[in-house]
């Protein structure tokens, strides 16, 4: 017989992974719910996962590649920007969705107990479908431009983990804050827009002055984007751009886990 003890908790605590595992089915169904609800009653359905990044890429190609003549390191600009938009869209999408996940499900939080971490997790997983679909589009683009990825591609999972940890880490922090401060929701929309220019999405890292390069590379998305570009276009992997961001990503992730757990107890009271 399992024993439950309820007491006021104090201080910082580690996430209860056993409990999280017991609720894995809930994570699965919330993820499915997220996907189904997003494309319910739309004609194109998941087609939007293709159209959105493709159109952004086209606009960027015309504006930055064509009109502003931004240097794309000698790659076709369309490929250059799509390779960046693929992880970037996932990052920005999961960030806003996970940050809102607790507020959007306040009704559930105040009525049932379950590990609250499931909510931002489900938000991040349900976006994976879009991520995979836009990957297929990427493959088509690669074939069209007759680009063969190099052996460096074996490092891709590592970069994807970095991407996930960054999104989840920041997502956990922001969602926990958003329960109490609704400002997060409004601020996030434009912060994400600003962040786009803090990562090499529309321009190349060569445009960054040398003395600022280390500071710049602390942004985990810089390494992710630069790494993905290099891997698919068969160039040497820019580890110098990647590792500072990796450390920051791990810090975000670990801090996020603890911060979320600490704030968890007041969610139902302030939601």
């Amino acid at each position: 017989m399992n024993k439950t003890i309820i007491e006021p908790s104090k201080g910082w605590k580690v996430v209860d992974f056993d409990e999280l595992w017991r609720y894995k089915d809930l994570l699965y169904f919330l993820t499915v719910r997220g996907i189904k609800a997003r494309y319910a009653q739309s004609i194109l359905g998941v087609g939007w996962a293709i159209i959105q990044p493709l159109f952004t890429t086209l606009v960027f190609t015309v504006v930055f590649g064509g009109l502003a003549k931004v240097d794309s390191d000698g790659m076709p600009y369309i490929l250059f920007s799509y390779l960046a938009l693929w992880p970037w869209n996932y990052f920005s999408g999961t960030l806003s969705e996970s940050a809102n996940s607790l507020v959007a499900n306040a009704g559930m939080i105040t009525k049932v107990y379950f590990p609250r971490l499931i909510l931002p997790l489900a938000a991040i997983f349900s976006k994976l479908l879009d991520f995979i679909i836009s990957f297929v589009v990427l493959l088509i683009l690669l074939i069209y431009f007759k680009v063969v990825p190099g052996l460096g591609i074996i490092w891709l999972p590592l970069l994807l983990i970095q991407l996930l940890m960054t999104s989840l880490g920041i997502g956990m922090i922001l969602s926990a804050m958003a329960v109490q401060y609704r400002d997060i929701k409004y601020a996030l929309t434009f912060i994400i827009q600003l962040l786009l220019y803090g990562a090499p999405v529309v321009y190349s890292t060569t445009a960054v002055p040398e003395q600022y390069q280390f500071l710049y590379s602390l942004n985990p998305m810089v390494g992710v984007i630069e790494g993905i570009r290099a891997m698919f276009l068969n160039r040497p992997i820019p580890w110098d751009w990647i590792w500072p961001g990796s450390i920051v990503a791990i810090i975000f992730f670990v801090f996020g886990l603890f911060y979320f757990r600490r704030m968890e107890k007041v969610f139902a009271d302030v939601a």
């Binding site: 017989m1 399992n2 007491e7 006021p8 189904k36 009704g107 109490q180 401060y181 009271d269």
Partner: protein
């Protein structure tokens, strides 16, 4: 030996409530207030979860509540709105943490504070069963196993593959409840969820709950405003009042304490307001014995004094006698078309004589209504403003009169003969 399954010790919970904002007197002050608002807001929102010192904005939703529940017991939780019932349930179901105190529970807990939590309108009934079930702590396997049973119980078989947004609210409730009814916890916590749904389904749910507790030996904590449901299901109850536990005893006793909490237990009502409206100014229940006690079967006389400012078209006065379980037992009325009253300004006295009331022993409350009759304005509803108690003294029976044996006791005659 009956074992304790829930042990609650000195449980307290405090909340921070909003204080009234200071009002600005001048436009300049208002502008300054608006300008400062973000800082003030930040302080206020930040303090929602913090309590450095005692202040006016701290509210104790629960204070030092301790009780124990034995296995297989069905415990009713009674109290007025804001007494702390929901807070107690929320702490028991781990939704929110207590400020201090401790709870020990032996066994799997399922809390049902709402029916159909997590339902998404775009998903089908079947998908929502899985959604809701996993939120309540079931695994996919468990739901797979019980799916047919759940669908059957809900009575929405035909629409189970239709998105829930096309369901009527009743269907949604049925579906939600049948998921919950198939949980298999050792401890089941239920809030006012039976208040929704139609009568037939409510009965089905109550039946299911009885099964759960009696046949399967589960422990149930049950909050409801439905006194009948509480007294049918729960042998024992606790009464919460302003966050404190007032009584824990057998349900009938606790229910009586609850109903007597702040109800006017006087047999007269006198209007104390100063307004110049047409109204009932006084009600007196003349009982057969002093202090509002009335002997069963004796004539009951109720006097009403009505002040009329003007002519009241179709003036109508009526009153109901309400029993302790909040059920209206009797209804009497007076129409202007039958007796002239309130057809001019002045004070009117109306006396209602009930020759031989058939109300059984117990406490009764009077609720009066005064207005313009059908389709017209309603002036007053005086809810349970006075009361009286009926006793059976001097009426002999071979057995003692048992309280709550009935509410209405009719005269009756038997004709018995022996047939060969």
């Amino acid at each position: 030996m009956s074992n304790t399954i829930i042990k609650v010790e000195n449980l307290s919970k405090r909340y921070r409530i909003g204080l009234q904002e200071k009002k600005a007197d001048t436009l300049a002050q208002q502008l300054w207030t608006n300008f400062k608002a973000p800082i003030e807001n930040f302080k206020r929102i930040k303090s929602l979860g913090k309590f450095e010192e005692e202040s006016d904005s701290v509210h104790w939703a629960l204070k030092n509540v301790s009780f124990e529940v034995k296995q297989g017991e069905v415990l009713g939780i009674i109290g007025k709105n804001g007494a702390g019932k929901s807070t107690l349930l929320k702490i028991l179901s781990k939704i929110t943490e207590p400020t201090s105190g401790r709870i020990e529970m032996n066994g799997r807990v399922a809390a049902l504070l709402e029916v159909g939590t997590g339902f998404h309108p775009e998903l089908t009934g079947r998908e929502n069963i899985y959604m809701n079930g996993t939120i309540l702590g079931m695994t996919k396997k468990e739901i797979d196993r019980k799916l047919d049973e759940i669908i059957n119980f809900s009575g929405v078989e035909k629409y189970v593959d239709t998105p829930v947004k096309f369901y009527s609210s009743g269907m949604r409730v049925r579906l939600g409840f049948s998921v919950a009814a198939h949980l298999e916890p050792e401890i089941l916590i239920i809030d006012e969820v039976l208040a929704v749904g139609d009568y037939e389904f409510q009965q089905k749910c109550l039946g299911k709950m009885e099964d759960v507790s009696q046949k399967e030996g589960r422990t149930v904590l049950f909050v409801s405003h439905n006194m009948d449901a509480i007294s049918n299901l729960c042998k024992k109850s606790i009464l919460l009042n302003s966050g404190a536990l007032e009584y824990i005893d057998n349900t009938e006793y606790v229910l009586r304490k609850y109903l007597a909490l702040d109800l006017n237990s006087s047999n007269t009502y006198i209007d104390k307001s100063n307004n110049e409206f047409s109204k009932i100014s006084r009600i007196i229940i003349n009982t057969s014995d002093p202090n509002g006690f009335h002997n069963y079967g004796k004539e009951l006389v109720i006097e009403f004094y009505i002040k009329s400012i003007d002519e009241i078209p179709n003036a109508t006065l009526s009153f109901q006698l309400i029993d302790e379980k909040n059920r209206a037992i009797m209804h009497c009325w007076l129409f202007q078309s039958d007796y002239f009253f309130c057809n001019d300004d002045g004070v009117y006295k109306a006396i209602c004589k009930i020759k031989s009331p058939k109300l059984y022993m117990g406490k009764y409350f009077l609720t009066a209504h005064f207005g313009e009759g059908k389709g017209g304005k309603k002036y007053q509803t005086l809810e349970k403003v006075c009361s009286f108690e009926i006793h059976m003294h001097g009426i002999k029976r071979e057995f003692d009169w048992a309280p709550y044996a009935c509410t209405y006791l009719e005269d009756f005659n038997w004709y018995v003969e022996k047939l060969d």
